[in-house]
């Protein structure tokens, strides 16, 4: 990896190296660092035998092959596959196991289709809106629309890199971020499960990905985004992914209304083994999500991996303990839910906290997300079918705020600010909720959001897809 840059990180707030050794390596400018080939690339100017650093690049640029780190690139390609694994099949199984038998296929298909849909949207417009500087701090530009300018030129040994990840090819960075863009709307599927029309889901997800996800990712992760400039910390997407999806999920639940019979008859989950397998795949994939967000195969990625495991296990144990105290039983669904709650809460903090912080965040996630999926759910009176807000929304908020409390300057190079973290959480919550509501109104107007009562009774598998699990 070139020593020219401060650090390769998805989050511009994370631009400090993870420890003193790496700090020295990353901040000491090497005269032998290869020159980049574009005017906006960083350069080193020898002057009286001293090296004077110039401004870091603010948009994607071109470098020579030698400036790419093979180790970082290999890790990021593995991380990308891991994060994709979280959605297909992780989330697909996690959700499919919790719905009734007559809606298993439709629920699974929805997440799968979101994967296909967002992949195309991301390369066409999503990436450029999220990860290039725009004319305002609220939305990116169109420089990379249809990924124009993304290059790999064998003849001249040059390729493009993102200013956020200068040690890996831009193609890998685009793919890595695409998997985040995929899983975020896929999470929302759980909120409107068992009652949304398939065509309405497709239109909603397409619009949401462009109008909600891309701007919020720009705010938080692009250095010119207004929250990034404020110093908000979100290492791997607690705000961008989980609060965002949680808020949209809650609005979806309100807009679609409760499922027929909700609160009166039991909605028996189809197969909770699927849910446990899905949760386990999510857990494994989350190492790509969190440790991959270091955008380097380095010590900070290792710390992110360690705290991810610690917080997840702590949250699962906490959830189980609460169940034992309240119901004298420990459920498999509870253990899986606790683990996911811990994964969600440690996400924004994973590159900033130590193990003590991870234990605390895991404990808080277990408590608050349990309340979110039970007590708060009753208070909100929304049929958030699979508790998207209760776990992802609440877990994201807990993680975002506690990142402000436990962020260690030794690890992340920055200290947290609880007020700023709360501001980012609230801004995302409000923006996502309002815009999601507007999109749903539009979709309802053009195609209708909800299947009719008879179709709902027959199940979406049959009525929307002419298939059924026997």
């Amino acid at each position: 990896m070139s020593a020219t840059f401060a650090i390769a990180d998805a989050n511009p707030a994370n631009v400090q190296p993870s420890n003193s050794t790496e700090a020295a390596a990353n901040t000491s400018l090497s005269a032998s660092a290869p020159a980049t080939t574009q005017a906006n690339a960083p350069e080193i100017t020898p002057k009286n035998n001293t090296l004077i650093p110039v401004a870091l690049p603010t948009k994607p640029y071109t470098v020579r092959f030698e400036q790419i780190s093979a180790g970082d690139t290999a890790w990021m390609m593995v991380s990308t596959a891991l994060v994709l694994l979280m959605t297909i099949p992780g989330l697909v199984l996690f959700y499919a196991g919790m719905v009734r038998k007559k809606n298993v296929l439709s629920t699974a298909l929805q997440s799968f289709v979101v994967c296909c849909l967002v992949s195309v949207i991301w390369v066409c417009i999503g990436y450029t809106l999220a990860f290039t500087p725009g004319s305002t701090s609220f939305l990116g530009g169109f420089d990379r629309a249809m990924l124009s300018g993304l290059s790999y030129i064998k003849a001249t040994s040059e390729l493009s890199v993102s200013h956020l990840a200068p040690s890996i090819p831009e193609s890998v960075f685009v793919m890595f971020q695409m998997t985040f863009a995929i899983i975020t709307p896929a999470l929302i599927v759980g909120a409107f499960a068992e009652r949304m029309r398939f065509i309405a889901m497709i239109i909603f997800m397409s619009l949401w990905s462009v109008i909600v996800y891309a701007p919020v990712a720009h705010w938080v992760w692009e250095p010119s985004g207004w929250l990034a400039m404020s110093g908000v910390l979100d290492f791997a997407g607690g705000t961008v992914v989980h609060i965002n999806a949680g808020a949209a999920g809650l609005v979806c639940a309100y807009m679609l209304g409760p499922r027929t019979g909700y609160g009166k008859v039991p909605f028996i989950p189809y197969n909770l083994v699927y849910t446990l397998v899905g949760a386990s795949l999510l857990w494994v994939g989350w190492f790509g999500f969190n440790a991959g967000s270091a955008v380097a195969a380095d010590g900070r990625a290792g710390m992110a991996m360690l705290v991810t495991q610690t917080a997840t296990a702590t949250a699962a144990l906490t959830w189980m303990a609460i169940e034992w105290l309240r119901k004298s039983r420990i459920t498999m669904l509870g253990a899986a839910s606790g683990a996911v709650a811990g994964l969600v809460a440690i996400t924004p903090a994973s590159g900033f906290v130590d193990v003590k912080g991870a234990l605390s965040i895991g404990l808080a996630a277990g408590i608050f997300c349990y309340w979110g999926a039970t007590g708060l759910k009753q208070l909100l009176k929304a049929d958030d079918a699979l508790d998207v807000f209760g776990i992802h929304g609440i877990g994201g908020i807990v993680g975002a705020i506690l990142t402000g409390v436990f962020a260690s300057k030794t690890i992340g190079g920055v200290e947290g600010n609880v007020t700023l973290q709360a501001l980012a959480a609230c801004s995302t919550l409000v923006y996502s909720a309002i815009v999601s509501w507007l999109i749903l109104l539009f979709v309802d107007f053009i195609v209708g959001l909800r299947v009719d009562a008879e179709e709902e009774d027959d199940g979406l598998d049959l009525t929307q897809h002419s298939e059924r699990v026997l």
Partner: protein, 110 residues
Amino acid sequence: MNETEKTSVAALMSVILRRKINRVVDVKWMVQNQDYAREIISLCKAQKLDDLDKYTTHFEDLMFGTNESSPYTTKTKKVGKSFSEKSASNTDDEDQNKGIAPNKYVGHLR
């Protein structure tokens, strides 16, 4: 005979009937009452719809085992037999509720 399979095929038939001729039928009663099942089978056959005929033949075979030419006959009998041998119960949706507290999953999942 596998009640789940009967219900599933009856459900498929009911969806086609409702969509194609706007006729609503009682899926559970089809499985429980042979006279009603015969009436619905007759109705379905009268429609001359290819996809419906396929399910009707299958359903008739499951209910009465009368259609020897049905491609499902052999398979169904084998499946039914192995099911009955392996487990006399726990195959129906209703049976899946056994042992679960009545208010479990009512208005909440976790």
